[in-house]
């Protein structure tokens, strides 16, 4: 259809539509209408023909009617007055003996979306609810939901009638009723699910198609069974849906199980195990979108039950033709599944992906190996250093970045790394990789014999360098190298500082160079203190193996769009740049796409969190959400030294808790106990090390949820002889807390919870 000839076409169409000869011949009339619709779908503006089309809907031909209605629904908002004319025809059609025509008319009437027509639509819709044909009732029920969109007040009588129609013999009418009521009663929290309704829905679940089943199961999540017996009756009734071959039904059932059994972890666990087969089947489904969705949800499940799929790791091996997004997710899952038995096979498989033609896949595989390296560093380093031997720029760059992150966490592998660094600089092309190399050379310079020569090459080329980050990294690395190998580095450091201070245009680089220059003026000791101050503290071991999160952390987003939105590239992006700025626990950040309307269960049921934590002081409720990433924690914690202004918007408190024994022998049980009262522990020192430290955080909530504060804390046990030994040999744990915004009452309440946890725990441990 020529766009330019649009006017001509419209004119011609109008002529044929208003031609009495054509109007009398049904077939030709329909053809004329057809041409209008065709023009419309091709993007031509045919809204001018509105009045002719309104006339064309007065016909006995159902197909023509349908076409005209498609046209009208598309353009009604442009011609609200003329649309009034259609209403008459539509209302007449609502009384047609043919139920198909009745439902068509009702549907079109509600699809016009004109507020001015609401008064004319209400009466046929009410009649439609009582129509004897189910297909009309289906449309009428949803019609009320559409009407609600136009005009927010809906008559209570209609709502009652809709509740009544939940018992309609037709399952689709029943499900549509649920959908409509959910929409109409959104403000009040959706349709009310009491015992009779819940049982009715459960009994009729089998009659519904898969769409309906998913809907019903979703709505049922709001139901709270009154007794344990009832709960188990429901669960056994739903058991067959849990292993349903349709992924949406299975996911909805699992979601329902998890929400019903939130207080019975063993049952939730059993449900997840039961759903394992269908979940794995969904991961192998024919459609890649479904596979992707299943993988994303498996990632959620693994956050709480890391051992769920350990032995099925082979199912997550990538096949040659899969798209990158699936491969990346599969690798992320594989990383989670690693255990002593399968680690060799998984690494062998991942190694194969590292040389994939697709750079993104290769990079994801290398990153995955790096993650596994946190627990199995020797084997992974062997693979990674082997990859350096290939001398491919992309691979070398990715490997170096991975190694950099790995060394930060596992300082014990520095020796192997130092050996591997020789000769990498010639291969590297991109600035990310070169930055990683520079950082490694700076930190491990004393062990890499060629380090000064490599840096010198970079310093000689600094004039033509464009990346600001690289120049800053170069400055720091040269400074560090200077500290351990002054004789070889002094000259080039001088040149570099001179260039950066005198010639460099970028303010950041210049600023940093000036800083270092002045630092050097303060003397070597001062410089050493600053530059080595933030080295990884080997006594703070990162928790190996993430602690299992409670299910309700992710429960609300299960079986929705949200898990898919968690960018696969996020963890990688977070590890760019020096590890000092991005700590390295691969904790999936909980940042939510702000547009998704997902609510935290704590907000929904403020009492549930309280009920689950027996120690909670009634004056305050603790909550783990929003989660604080280790990086964020570190950033906030480090501010302590910084400024006085900081001290105004937050509160620092140091206290001593006495307990019979410090529970440092068993980080797992301490972690579990803290989780129970909604305190998240982030990192422990190894149990035998002294001083022994634990970092933790939580949020305090006032009972009315009016104000919340973030509390970060550090437990410190020095193990020294007590200054004032108490009679029964109690030990002292020093607690440092940071609260933002300040609320001393909440903080005191938190402190009492904390001390009660420590005191409850300590006798058990000994």
């Amino acid at each position: 259809m020529p766009y330019l000839g649009g006017k001509e076409t419209v004119k011609e169409l109008r002529r044929s539509l208003s031609n009495p000869n054509i109007q009398t011949d049904p077939l030709r009339y329909r053809n004329a209408v057809l041409r209008v619709i065709r023009a419309m779908s091709q993007g031509l503006d045919v809204s001018d023909l509105f009045s002719e089309m309104v006339k064309a809907c007065a016909t006995v031909d159902v197909v023509q009617k349908k076409l005209v209605y498609v046209f009208l629904c598309c353009y009604a908002h442009l011609n609200p007055e003329l649309s009034l004319l259609v209403v008459n025809t539509l209302r007449k059609d609502c009384l047609d003996p043919n139920p198909m025509v009745r439902s068509l008319a009702l549907r079109s009437m509600t699809n016009l979306r004109l507020p001015s027509l609401v008064e004319y639509v209400e009466q046929p819709l009410t009649a439609g609810l009582r129509d004897r044909a189910a297909c009309v009732r289906r449309v009428a029920v949803l019609g009320w939901a559409k009407l609600h969109q136009l005009q927010p007040e809906t008559d209570a009588a209609v709502v009652n009638e809709l509740y009544g129609l939940l018992r309609d013999p037709d399952p689709v009418v029943m499900v549509n009723c649920l959908r409509a009521l959910e929409e109409i009663l959104k403000e009040e929290g959706g349709v009310v699910i009491n015992k009779p309704i819940a049982h009715h829905l459960l009994n009729r679940l089998k009659e519904c198609d898969t769409w309906g089943q998913s809907e019903v199961l979703r709505v049922l999540q709001r139901y709270r069974p009154q007794s344990e017996d009832e709960l188990f009756d429901i669960l056994s009734l739903l058991d067959s849906s849990l292993v349903s071959p349709h992924p949406p039904v299975m996911a909805a059932t699992l979601s329902l199980f998890l929400s019903l059994c939130s207080s019975l972890p063993a049952v939730s666990q059993a449900a997840m195990e039961r759903a394992r087969g269908p979940l794995l089947a969904a991961c192998g489904s024919g459609s890649r979108e479904m596979r992707f969705t299943a993988l994303c949800h498996i990632q959620l499940l693994l956050r709480s039950t890391p051992g769920l799929l350990g032995e099925h790791f082979k199912r997550f091996f990538c096949s040659y033709a899969e798209p990158v997004y699936i491969k990346q997710r599969k690798m992320q899952v594989l990383v989670e599944l690693v255990n002593d038995e399968n680690v060799l096979m998984i690494l062998e498989e991942l190694k194969g992906y590292c040389t994939d033609v697709n750079d993104d896949t290769a990079q994801a595989a290398i990153t995955a190996i790096g993650h596994i390296g946190r627990s199995y560093s020797d084997k992974c380093l062997e693979i990674l250093t082997g990859l350096l031997g290939l001398k491919q720029d992309q691979i070398t760059s990715a490997v170096l970045q991975t190694i950099r992150d790995l060394v930060w966490v596992c300082p014990q592998c520095s020796d192997t790394v130092s050996l591997a660094l020789e000769g990498c600089q010639d291969v590297l092309q991109d600035s990310q990789g070169r930055q990683a190399l520079l950082w490694l050379l700076g930190v491990h310079g004393e062990r890499v014999s060629s380090a000064p020569y490599t840096l010198e090459a970079y310093i000689d080329g600094v004039r033509s360098e464009t990346s600001v980050e690289l120049k800053m990294e170069l400055l720091t690395s040269t400074m560090r190298l200077f500290l351990c190998r002054p004789a070889e580095t002094q000259d080039m450091l001088g040149r570099l500082l001179h260039y950066c201070i005198e010639e460099e245009k970028d303010v950041c680089v210049r600023g940093q160079a000036l800083l270092y220059y002045r630092l050097l003026q303060c003397g070597m000791e001062e410089t050493r203190r600053v530059l080595h101050g933030r080295r990884c503290d080997p006594s703070v071991g990162v928790l190996t193996g993430r602690p299992a999160e409670p299910i309700r952390q992710w429960m609300s987003s299960f079986n929705t769009l949200e898990p898919l939105k968690h960018r696969s590239g996020e963890t990688e992006a977070a590890s760019r740049g020096s590890p000092e700025h991005h700590a390295s626990v691969p904790k999936p950040s909980m940042d939510l796409p702000d547009s998704l309307d997902c609510r935290w269960p704590e907000v929904d049921h403020p009492d549930s969190a309280g009920a689950a934590s027996p120690y909670t002081d009634p004056g305050v409720t603790l909550s783990l959400t929003p989660a604080v990433s280790p990086e964020e924690f570190e950033r906030l914690w480090m501010r302590r030294q910084e400024s006085a202004a900081e001290r105004e918007d937050c509160l620092w408190l140091e206290e001593t808790i006495r307990c019979t024994a410090v529970p440092r022998r068993s980080p797992q049980s301490l972690h579990a106990a803290m989780q129970l009262v909604n305190i998240q522990t982030l990192a422990f020192t190894p149990s035998h090390a002294l001083p022994w430290k634990v970092f933790l955080y939580t949020h305090t909530l006032q009972p009315d949820a009016s104000c919340s504060t973030l509390v970060l804390g550090e437990l410190l046990y020095t193990g020294e002889a007590h200054q004032n030994p108490t009679a029964d040999g109690e030990q002292e744990v020093k607690v440092t807390l940071r609260q933002q915004p300040p609320d001393i009452q909440a903080l005191r309440a938190f402190l009492s919870i904390l001390s009660s946890v420590l005191n409850t725990l300590s006798p058990e441990i000994i």
Partner: protein
């Protein structure tokens, strides 16, 4: 669920047809879809869900079309994708092939179908057998006089309408098993599984009640019988017509079948299968001059059986030229657009061994682009044989009128596309 609108786009991103179901997302948002897709593809972040502002696009690609659902809610992703695939399924049943041309040629039906499939963002009637009763391709057929109300209204059996009549009552049962085997370069089997399906072609009158008996190990264990070969099935999926509760309780597969062709059930068997056709290959690449390929195929199945239409696909470098072949049987062909040599053998008896040699020239200027090492794949079909040994023991057909009906059974084993061997290359 709630998809706000559904779009069908061509490869350039032009809207072919669309339907606004909820009216809470601006229809013009779709203009962002194609730029987003391209941008993500470039960054290597392509994913089946993309967002622009607070609008989320969930999309699938089918032949030369994109099917896109938009929403601004945190809707149920797996449901939306299943619905999009359902659309593809329904359209395919209507138009044989779903592609740009068929949408343009049948836009009236497409509009009608979109109207029935979904209302206000919720899936409604999605069973194509039912839809076909009141939405027909030849619109002329749908005269005013014909006011047939779909049987779903009566709520009896939503997948079969009443009053079907056949002169000769017959059921054809096809048991089709595809095997997927992945072999790595060292010749060890990495993974293997069997995906089976039982397809029906029902030509039965009235509302017949069918019962299917298989040599299912669980069933045999239940009834205490222990003779003959049995199989353990995993991930069994049934057509909605099968009464799941009965299967759960006593493993009986009983159902009222849909009319015509349908897939009754599918299953997966996770066992170690040795590759039915074993491939060994030696590929020698002499840079700047030539590639020499030697492929040996060996039938590792019973001597009585014959594999039909065997196709061995051997990847070759994209810049190869001047092919020369020598085969002990069948013929080989070079498919330059796919960078493959396809060696076809019409019939391949069990226990036999065949050989193919190929020779290609390589240009003296080397191709810079790195190429992946795609696996060698084998396609074949073996009739009258199932790898798993699954058997249809009986098919009982009961109908009120008491007619006699004949069941016919056929077994076929196919390759599931990935009987793959990685290259064993020298040099």
């Amino acid at each position: 669920m709630s998809a706000s609108a559904i779009f069908v786009l061509d490869l350039k991103g032009k809207v072919l047809i669309c339907r606004n179901y909820k009216g809470d997302v601006d229809m013009a948002e779709i203009d962002h879809f194609m730029p987003l897709l391209m941008q993500h593809e470039e960054e290597g972040l392509l994913s089946p869900v993309m967002s622009h502002g607070n609008v989320h696009f969930m999309w699938i690609k089918h032949s030369n079309l994109y099917l896109v659902a938009t929403t601004n809610k945190n809707s149920n992703a797996s449901l939306v994708y299943s619905f999009l695939y359902k659309i593809v399924e329904v359209f395919t049943e209507y138009f044989k092939e779903l592609e740009e041309e068929s949408i343009q040629d049948n836009f009236v039906v497409v509009y009608e179908l979109l109207d029935e499939l979904m209302d206000f963002g919720f899936p409604q009637t999605t069973e194509s057998k039912i839809l076909q009763e009141y939405i027909t391709q030849e619109g002329a057929k749908l005269e005013v006089a014909k006011t047939k109300v779909p049987t779903t209204v009566t709520n009896a059996v939503s997948w079969r309408s009443e009053g079907i009549k056949y002169k000769k009552n017959e059921v054809f049962i096809d048991v089709i098993e595809s095997i997927n085997v992945l072999v790595n370069a060292n010749g060890s089997v990495m993974s293997s599984d069997i995906v089976g399906s039982i397809k029906l072609k029902t030509m039965l009158s009235g509302m017949p009640e069918l019962r299917l008996g298989l040599n299912d190990r669980v069933l045999f264990a239940l009834t205490g019988r222990d003779k003959g070969k049995t199989v353990v099935m995993e991930d069994v999926k049934f057509h909605q017509c099968v009464r799941l509760s009965r299967f759960e309780s006593d493993r009986t597969i009983s159902f009222i079948p849909p009319d015509g062709e349908s897939e009754l059930m599918s299953y997966r068997i996770n066992t170690h299968v040795k590759p039915l056709i074993w491939i060994e290959s030696v590929i020698e690449k002499f840079s700047h001059s030539r590639v020499e390929i030697m492929v040996k195929a060996k039938g590792q199945f019973k001597k009585q059986s014959v594999a039909n239409n065997v196709e061995v696909r051997v990847p070759v470098p994209s810049d190869a030229d001047s092919p020369k072949f020598k085969t002990s049987t069948g013929n080989a062909k070079y498919v330059p657009e796919k960078n493959l040599v396809v060696w076809t053998i019409k019939s391949f008896p069990g226990g036999k061994e065949f050989l193919m040699r190929a020779h290609f020239g390589l240009p003296s200027v080397e191709n810079d682009e790195a190429e992946g090492k795609p696996p060698i794949t084998v396609k074949f079909e073996i009739p009258y044989f199932t790898v798993s040994g699954i058997q249809v023991r009986y098919m009982k057909i009961i109908e009120k009128s008491g007619y006699q009906a004949l069941p016919w059974v056929r077994y076929i084993t196919q390759s599931g596309g990935t009987v793959a061997t990685f290259l064993i290359s020298a040099l």
